[in-house]
Symmetry: C2
Subunit: 527 residues, 2 copies
């Protein structure tokens, strides 16, 4: 485990939760903390105990339920109120009582904010900082001081901003963190400021960058270049407005580009998994184009690249994707040439036997279907069925004669969905009806129950995700929709795609393929 | 208009189109080119004429249909083949015949790529560059040379990389662009390399940064700091893998942070509109958290901030959002306190009359509903109806007794949706049935036709967008869905939200509110 000389400090649960659209339950926060610990961060800022009941409950439950291997739980709070004693301040008491061994105090360091927002004097603000830091240190806590609006404040009144750093340092703060709260900085300014503050004060410095210029990662690294040894980040860059410095990008740069070990050995390879799992918990679709950990981060689409990648993959990637738990992917799209289709078939284990005409037919069909709105980039199972269809061995376990899905809200206020499907399965005509909590759920159940009579192994196949994408925003409910359906069988997952003007019809297409693919995975031969 | 001393070069239509999930038609490309010209970029790289029929058609139609005010259309292509003459090369001929006044040639500058991917000698590669650049210059074109994999090549064999720059410069290239093709660079390395190459060659340099480390914007700015005067970017950062340097972030930094005018006067304020319009055309949900231009870029959620923002907004934003055509927004969410609700009501024009109990009830209901999956951050119309409901003046133009939506695929393969609604409108019971190309479309039509008999002004209200978000990915079709529906009436748009396990039921909730809000906008008094 890395020693104390460098701090990877995560604030997903506190500052990250400020992101628009994010609402975390206490259970979410506990689960995310567990994942961050698995990734190996040094500090997990859990929230502001006392500021709201959810955060207070989090710290209560965390001390009982969380068994952190590497990370230290950190409570966030403010310095004491003007004109009082830290030891008597109820907000400071909540920090003490949270049970967290580490406390991050936020303080104003821009004199304008002290006077206009905090409505006190510069002198009293320094006293509040010194008193609160010293009090918590006496109580045995490690204390970090977050200097809000530091960079703007330093530009406006460098003397006062330096006084804040010195006051915290003199009171025993373990690190003073320079925050670009409004996020307007660029790397050269961050580097210059950190170097100057370090020289003027000698206090251990950290950095907290917001991404409003799109430079949060670079700003964080510029601070490290200038001598900062504590970086505050959030998973996937979640945070207020544009967001915060992305934990995974910062850590990957430090480990892979700087050659500096800041995580316990082997943990960087957990990055992609932890990133995706946190996105699930936060309930935001994973950022596919995120550096290092996004599913597109090592995906190649250009026909030009595809043919060269066959020669030498390392010439076309800036780092080995396995180091961050990711992998190279070839995308089959209408820009793809024959080389992409060949590589993709190889990846899927479908032998095209060097048949040029077959490859050409697949390229043509893919281009034509993508023109109509299909996207195979995320739907390997559909692509495999297409490859097999062109090769002549796509199994047809059942054929649909017709189906119907009804949703109604009754006069008593209850809503129900019901579906009927008429299938031919191994020569038999089967009619089934099922209810569901939506029309696609009802169709899924009716389809399964019709197929299960013959293919009993279907029982283990479960729907894992269902995505709807409207392809033409301008057309409203009349637009073309693309459905992606993901099923799993405990051993793996697969995704199929359906497209159409009618959302239920497109869902059926994807559903039918997903069940077919699942039966194929179970080893049922084509009937 | 800025002079030639600095080039804002956009490659959305060429390199941006490499983004996973993007498929552009010729019409899309023409529309995007028009928007980029409105934004005021100097160069629009349209594609690779001759490489595929779509790009060839684009250049044909562009010369007839596009009337560019500022930008010069640019064709992308490769240097001639080894062992031939540029004047005889059919690919070079396609560049000449594209009608584009500017050509960007891509060339290998990493000796390993020359030998392993291009399979020729370093010497022949230099000859290919010199010959092709000189030939196109003789034909009266401006020529830029993109040095693929420059930074990796320069690290491996700086002498050869410099020879490439010198060969292009000597042959008359108007700028030589150093490309971080694999995207692994960080700003200090980019700055150092650009400075060294500039000093060694004296050739005018540009930069093309990929975002694989999350530093493409900072890398581009580092190159400018070191003397580059040509930046290649893409709208919204679209591009292969993680993406390219984001045009809007780079230009905003240069104009607002550097104080350097790189667009015609007044065009920066088009950034947010152009960004969103291009996202629509590219058919990717706009990146809400994008710097400067995202809808969240100036959105404030924290209760702490909200109360301070009431005092002095400029202390809480790094730049004036109006400069990039954006605006500050207050978010109402379960983290919001009373101050946020008060500011939001003021923004919506709903007078709460300083009624503390009323504000408290709204805060409680918002928190409770967001817990259940609602999100009011994007649904101002639903929030306004909620505010009015608590204030006691939410209009009820109609009440639904029951409804039903049926989708079926008939045995002949055709799919149809049909909906029936039973409403009470001004004391009358109305039953209507309508068909649609999906269940929600059918419900929308049936609901309108029932309401229109009484409220005739409804005719002008149109559905503009329909979004489905699955809130619990793990639950598949059984998960809770959130529906956002946007309607417009020619004068503006409004969005409502519905949540439920049943996607059709949740859609109905949003639909009912959207129609109610539309009638309210038309000025119908509550019945």
């Amino acid at each position: 485990m890395p020693d104390d000389s460098f701090h990877v400090f995560d604030t997903t649960l506190r500052d990250g939760a400020q992101r628009e659209g994010v609402t975390l339950t206490v259970a979410d926060k506990l689960a995310i903390a567990g994942l961050l610990d698995e990734f190996g961060v040094g500090f997990i800022e859990g929230g502001w105990p006392g500021a709201n009941p959810k955060d207070t409950e989090f710290f209560q439950r965390a001390s009982q339920e969380l068994d952190l291997e590497h990370a230290q739980l950190t409570a966030f709070g403010a310095t004491r109120r003007p004109g009082a004693r830290a030891a008597d301040d109820p907000q400071v008491a909540a920090l003490r009582e949270s049970g967290a061994p580490v406390v991050t105090l936020v303080a104003k360091s821009d004199i304008r904010h002290v006077e206009r927002a905090l409505r006190t004097t510069g002198e009293e603000n320094l006293a509040m900082i010194a008193d609160t830091v010293a009090h918590l240190k006496e109580c045995g806590r490690r204390v970090f001081l977050d200097c809000e609006h530091f960079f703007d404040g330093y530009r406006y009144d460098p003397g006062y901003a330096l006084d804040v750093v010195r006051a915290a340092g003199a009171a025993g703060a373990d690190a003073v963190v320079l925050c670009d709260t409004n996020g307007g900085m660029l790397p050269p300014g961050v580097g210059r400021t950190v170097a100057e503050v370090l020289e003027a004060t000698g206090v251990r410095l950290g950095v907290h960058a917001q991404d409003d210029t799109g430079c949060a990662v670079a700003n964080t690294l510029a601070a490290v270049d200038a001598g900062a040894t504590h970086v505050q980040c959030t998973a996937n860059g979640y945070g207020e407005r544009v967001g915060n410095a992305n934990l995974f990008s910062v850590v990957a740069a430090l480990e892979l580009k700087y050659g500096r070990r800041v995580l316990p050995r082997g943990r960087l390879a957990e990055a992609s998994r932890v990133s995706a799992a946190i996105a699930e918990l936060v309930n935001i679709a994973p950022a596919t184009h995120q550096p290092y950990v996004g599913v597109s981060a090592f995906a190649h689409k250009a026909g030009l690249h595809a043919s060269a990648i066959k020669v030498d993959p390392d010439l076309y990637q800036h780092t080995d994707p396995a180091l961050v738990g990711n992998g190279m992917r070839m995308l089959v799209s209408d820009m793809a040439g024959r080389a992409s289709v060949e590589l993709k078939a190889e990846e899927l284990g479908v032998d095209l036997g060097g048949d040029r005409a077959l490859v050409g037919r697949v390229v043509d069909r893919v281009k034509e279907m993508e023109q109509a709105g299909y996207s195979f980039e995320a739907a390997d199972a559909s692509l495999e069925l297409l490859l097999r269809e062109e090769r002549g061995d796509r199994p047809r376990y059942f054929t649909a004669e017709s189906w119907r899905a009804i949703t109604e809200r009754r006069a008593d206020g209850a809503s129900v969905s019901e579906a009927t499907v008429k299938l031919h399965v191994k020569g038999e005509r089967v009619i089934t009806t099922a209810e569901g909590n939506g029309p696609v759920n009802a169709l899924d159940r009716a389809l399964r129950s019709a197929v299960e009579g013959v293919y009993t192994a279907l029982g283990g196949i479960q729907l894992a995700d269902y995505k709807v994408r409207i392809l033409d925003g301008g057309g409203g409910t009349g637009a073309v929709t693309r459905i992606l359906i993901t099923f799993g069988d405990g051993r793996g997952e697969w995704t199929t795609v359906g497209v159409g003007e009618n959302v239920i019809d497109a869902s059926w297409t994807a559903l039918e393929q997903a069940i077919t693919y699942g039966l194929m995975r179970q080893g049922y031969p084509a009937p």
